[in-house]
């Protein structure tokens, strides 16, 4: 397990040295972008819970029927359901996994973990954060002071409790997590991948630096001139990014800070359907919303104009004061 997770430094460096890090246009279609995700890969997912989830990419990866993905995200909600339920992933590394506190336990997660023996690998929230951060810093581990004493730690032989060589204090060393590919949704970026993130940034910056490939979806593509006018607003530098796709409402039905809040009517009907029957309910949901639509816009149309507009009104209201 550990060996599969922690890459030696020379391999990490070799991977990066092979990437084309020049300032080049990298706008592609959603289909092309999702094809960076190949069977068996470690996939890091940006955002958290129901916020700035790269849902359009997850949607397309599921449509491309990938297999055996090992996915990591700080907090997983319906995206985790869909990754397990569609069969693309059998391993999810996170700190919390349910559809959202409004709906209690995820019957989908329970089904796949309790009876299908899929792997929900639990770390503390900070543990996930320090693993991405170590990955982004190019070090094999970071020390932290949580998880110690808990059964969460006991289940994680990948982490090492040690005595501090300076102070003798007990510390936990958590190993770097360098996903093969990261999927991240942002409010705006340029055609090179210089990305701005408004509001909550979660662990996306560390994740982008840690991953060996980064795929960005963005609500809009802006000019490089606009980026260069406020370089201190750039949160992810272009040379970390391998593909850019403009996908308005790319987090739907989740939220995107300042643009739209979660589409809770859709979420509620989703939860009712899949929790009532985690197998058939999920299959029917995927059929209707994931496999049948010809495009992301057709999927949005199924969520419905009214819900999109209402979510947008609520989303924008954060700037009304």
């Amino acid at each position: 397990m550990l060996e599969a997770q922690l890459e030696p430094y020379t391999r990490l460096r070799e991977n990066i040295s092979k990437r084309d890090r020049s300032l080049r246009e990298k706008v592609v279609s959603l289909e092309e972008a999702a094809s960076f995700v190949q069977d068996g890969m470690k996939v890091g997912i940006g955002g958290s819970t129901m916020s700035r989830t790269p849902m359009a990419l997850i949607w397309e990866v599921i449509r491309q029927r990938r297999k055996n993905l090992s996915c990591s995200r700080c907090i997983v909600s319906t995206d985790g359901d869909l990754l397990f339920g569609s069969g693309v992933s059998d391993h999810i590394i996170t700190s919390w996994f349910a559809q959202g506190i409004l709906w209690g336990l995820s019957k989908v997660m329970r089904h796949h973990v309790e009876t299908q023996k899929k792997n929900y690998e639990e770390w503390s929230h900070m543990g996930i954060g320090m693993r991405f951060r170590a990955g982004g810093m190019g070090v094999p581990f970071l020390p932290m002071r949580a998880m110690l004493g808990s059964d969460v730690m006991k289940q994680r032989p990948e982490a090492k409790p040690v005595n501090c060589p300076f102070t003798g204090e007990k510390l936990l060393l958590v190993p770097a997590l360098n996903p093969d590919v990261a999927l991240i949704h942002v409010q705006r970026c340029d055609q090179y991948g210089n990305a701005q993130i408004d509001g909550l940034q979660f662990m996306d910056i560390d994740l982008a630096l840690a991953a060996n490939r980064v795929i960005l979806t963005t609500e809009r593509i802006v000019s490089n001139d606009q980026i260069r006018r406020a370089p201190d607003q750039t949160k992810i530098p272009f040379f970390c990014v391998d593909a850019v796709v403009e996908v308005p409402y790319g987090s739907a039905p989740h939220e995107c800070f300042g643009l739209y809040e979660p589409m809770l009517k859709h979420m509620e009907s989703y939860v009712a359907q899949v929790n009532a029957d985690p197998v058939n309910g999920m299959r029917e949901y995927l059929e209707r919303y994931f496999y049948e639509p010809k495009s992301w816009n057709e999927y949005l149309a199924l969520i419905g104009m009214e819900e999109l507009l209402e979510a947008s009104q609520r989303g924008r209201s954060i700037y009304n004061d």
Partner: protein, 256 residues
């Protein structure tokens, strides 16, 4: 109208939890009752209470009727003083800037250990629960207030799995495990307010909720509780507390 009819179990939970906070404190709050109770305290008595959320928020003032469905939603940032990365907001706990962590709980034991990971054997669980989220980090690094429903299956002698550590096995075991700071401070339920004894670190009843008997608390608890002459009786929720609470959550998202 009898006392018990004036408010729901969740309402008294939120109100008594809010009473535990002090103006000027820095509190790290989870979603649901903690978020609601911290916001209630802020509106009632503690305008200088600083609320942190796991999504990466410092010093928010959540709006009435707009409670966020998670602590990672944009509503959590309303009128915040700062929005930052979520690893970074957790590191503030580790560095020591936070006075109180404030969470809900699914299962707790006599030493204040919380389980939100597994019911039954973790190797073949009866129920896989959602997991720790920031709970393990918060409870490892600061003083904790936990608000939860009081049921015998939730108040057990030993939790099936220590997701978020309290005093582990009591006495000095928390410190010896590498957690020299923090620990359980208060547990609030719809029946009583609990603390932890200074030496053994076992849970003890500090005060009974209005109209609740010692027997009722003991009957709903899976381990023996000590009562003594210092066990107090909590003042009932005031009209102002109830009104403000209902204003904050008019759709009864968290106070159903």
């Amino acid at each position: 109208m009898t006392e018990a009819q004036r408010y729901t179990a969740t309402e008294i939970l939120a109100i008594l939890s809010a009473r535990q906070l002090r103006d000027g404190q820095v509190v790290f709050a989870g979603v649901g009752i903690p978020l609601l109770a911290a916001t209630l305290a802020q509106r009632l008595r503690c305008p200088g209470l600083t609320i942190l959320f796991e999504g990466g928020v410092i010093g928010a003032f959540v709006e009435p009727g707009k409670l966020p469905p998670s602590t990672n939603d944009q509503r959590c940032t309303k009128r915040a003083n700062m929005v930052l990365g979520s690893a970074d907001v957790l590191l503030l706990l580790q560095r020591g800037y936070v006075d109180v962590g404030f969470m809900g709980g699914a299962q707790i034991d006599q030493y204040g250990n919380l389980n939100s990971s597994f019911i039954g054997d973790p190797a073949a669980p009866k129920t896989r629960l959602p997991g720790t989220g920031g709970g393990n980090d918060i409870s490892s690094l600061t003083n904790m207030i936990v608000a939860m429903k009081h049921e015998k299956r939730r108040f057990v002698e030993h939790v099936d799995f220590i997701t978020s550590p309290g005093f582990i096995r009591g006495d000095e075991s928390r410190g010896e495990s590498g957690l020299p700071m923090g620990g359980m401070f208060r547990v609030i339920t719809e029946l009583a307010v609990f603390g932890f004894s200074e030496r053994s670190r076992r849970m003890k009843v500090l005060a009974l909720n209005p109209g609740v008997s010692r027997e009722e608390v003991q009957d709903n608890t899976g381990f023996s509780l000590d009562f003594d002459e210092t066990t107090a009786m909590t003042e009932p929720p005031t009209d102002s507390e109830l009104q403000t609470l209902r204003l904050l959550d008019p759709e009864r998202l968290f106070t159903a």
